[in-house]
């Protein structure tokens, strides 16, 4: 590969400009400074009090509660009953749960790379400053804002249904597969198409990264006779690897949590189904069905914790892998 991998200097997010360097040498009145430090701390916590309240009440507390519920049988009406690992063993033995895991993994594994390839490809195209660049950038970004809406999910369901545009187009190529949203195996690809359609958000981030690459590097490489592909592989890719890492991380975590579009394109919960033969029954849809339709709050909490573990594992693997492929500028 030939990319030099440098270790990022451990610049803490905040320490750079924090921590006044007070000590005996340049602090003539330590008591006054100490008093000031206390006042600062008080001010800090006062400013942060909404966040701290929110963190305790809506994040940390619920996480602990959720962990507890995961080991109980809880239907909202009776007190939670401790059942040990029953929820987990029931979950792992449930073919519908296994199916939802497969559907979700497939969605993540197919959808995320396609979306990121599209985002990077279009970003490379748009990185050339030409007339209309700003317009295209804005237009390509728009789907990321409306893509999560119920409206677009309804539109999606329509254009991927039998005899609609996608079906007609594939027939032109001799593929007679029918509409995707009515097919248990194909409906997930309509959701993949929906996420790829929203490539604009990672594209904007790629564009910001591409702008940071020093032009001299390309000029030097051109002088050395490096072709386009080589310049991309040896300059562009390493230089934007932090941005790439960031996009991979965020998009992957995000796609594990797909809900609304699967729920609506799949037809919603009426009769506990998500898509034909559970075709779009992604993990969170099943979590919703178990928790809010079947009132199995304990089981649903166990499912939520499994999702958390999966996301944490993916995050950990990505962070572990970044030292092999993510190139940070010295002092960046």
């Amino acid at each position: 590969m030939g990319t030099t991998v440098t270790h990022a200097p451990a610049t803490e997010g905040l320490t750079k400009d924090s921590e006044p360097r007070h000590g005996p040498v340049n602090s003539p009145r330590p008591a006054a400074l100490k008093r000031r430090g206390r006042r600062e701390t008080l001010a800090g916590y006062l400013f942060m009090s909404p966040w701290i309240a929110g963190f305790l009440l809506l994040t940390a507390g619920p996480m602990v509660a959720s962990l507890y519920f995961a080991f109980t049988d809880y239907n909202l009406f009776d007190a939670p009953k401790w059942v040990g690992l029953d929820n987990f063993s029931e979950m792992f033995d449930d073919p519908r749960w296994q199916h939802s895991v497969r559907v979700t993994l497939w969605y993540v594994v197919v959808g995320t790379p396609l979306k990121l390839f599209a985002a990077l490809g279009v970003a490379l195209l748009l990185a050339q400053s030409r007339r209309g660049q700003a317009f295209y950038r804005a237009a390509f970004y728009a789907p990321s804002l409306i893509g999560a809406s119920v409206s677009i999910a309804i539109v999606w369901k329509a254009i991927f249904s039998d005899d609609a545009i996608v079906d007609r187009t594939q027939k032109l190529f001799g593929v007679d597969a029918g509409g995707w949203t009515g097919d248990p195996d194909l409906i997930i690809y309509s959701l993949v198409a929906l996420t790829v359609w929203q490539f604009g958000a990672p594209m904007v981030i790629f564009l910001a990264g591409l702008k940071q690459v020093p032009r001299e590097l390309y000029e030097a490489a051109e002088v050395d006779g490096a072709g386009k592909l080589r310049r991309f592989w040896n300059i562009t890719l390493p230089m934007i690897s932090p941005v790439l890492f960031f996009n991979v991380l965020l998009e992957t975590i995000h796609s594990f949590q797909i809900f609304s579009s699967a729920y609506i394109v799949g037809g919603g919960a009426g009769g506990n189904a998500c898509g034909p033969a559970d075709g779009s029954m992604v993990y969170t849809c099943y979590l919703y069905v178990q928790g809010f339709e079947n009132s199995r709050m304990g089981l649903a909490s166990a499912m939520a914790w499994m999702l958390l573990v999966a996301v944490a594992l993916v995050t950990a693997v990505l962070f572990w892998s970044q030292k092999r492929w993510v190139h940070y500028e010295e002092g960046a």
Partner: protein, 310 residues
Amino acid sequence: MSSPGLSTSLDQGAPPPATGITPTRSPKAGSLRRRLPGSLAWHIGSLAILAVILYPVVWVVGGSFKKSEDIIGSLDLFPGDPIVSNYTRLTEGIADISVSTFFLNSLTLAVGSVVGILVSCSLTAYAFAKIKFAGRNLLFTLMIGTLLLPYHVLLIPQYVLFRNMEMINTYTPLLLPKYLATEAFFVFLMMQFMRNLPKELDEAARLDGCGHLRIYWSIVLPLCRPALITSAIFTFINAWNDFMGPLIYLNEPDKYTVSLGLKMFVDQEGLANYGGMIAMSLVALLPVLAFFVTFQRYLIDGMATSGLKG
């Protein structure tokens, strides 16, 4: 799940903060090359992508003027004889509730969310960016950790909590989190912005005896306008689009948001009234599209700066 290493790396992984919304925008670097063939290919490529991107939007506009039975089968984007009955049908309301009720509900939630996010997140961001206090790094790490936390882990216990507080079917469960700065993304966005403000300003103010509240209100907030606008627009759009929250917490149709009203429409009338459904979909999108057209600069710069989805 959050470790100090996580915050460090995320901080570095994010694109350099100075690129997007900075108080002063640098003029676009690079020159317009005018090699015709390359330029032509570029425009053809861009236009082709644009066509794919715009197709669903154009489709929904055209479809809203078609008869229900013509919407799916016909490949024509626009009908030969446009009708407006899909729109007039909307004035009859959905399940005896007028469409304007849904819009008013969504608007209430969206505006309430914007106010909450602006106040709570800017206070938190100020503390992270401008106050040196013990435990700040730990809190920052925790906050970054919540960025990566799947919302679904909190879904059930939060529901149980709000249910025990008898707040189901009120807007409190949907609004309260916004007033408690739980959207770390916006804290992060504002914090990045505040850290890039010239230090001399607040140092001078401190020497003049200004307290933090005064500096926050009179100096930092006015200078942070771009970041505040970006956050406000993202919050509005997210609240407007939100489906899962209202789905779980609201169960009386007269409290429904536009998203839920639309879903109810689909469930009740389905294919029989495809035209009305498509028209309503478009109407539901209009506020978001209007915001986008007006503020796209802020949105895109905001994305580029923090590199996160709202």
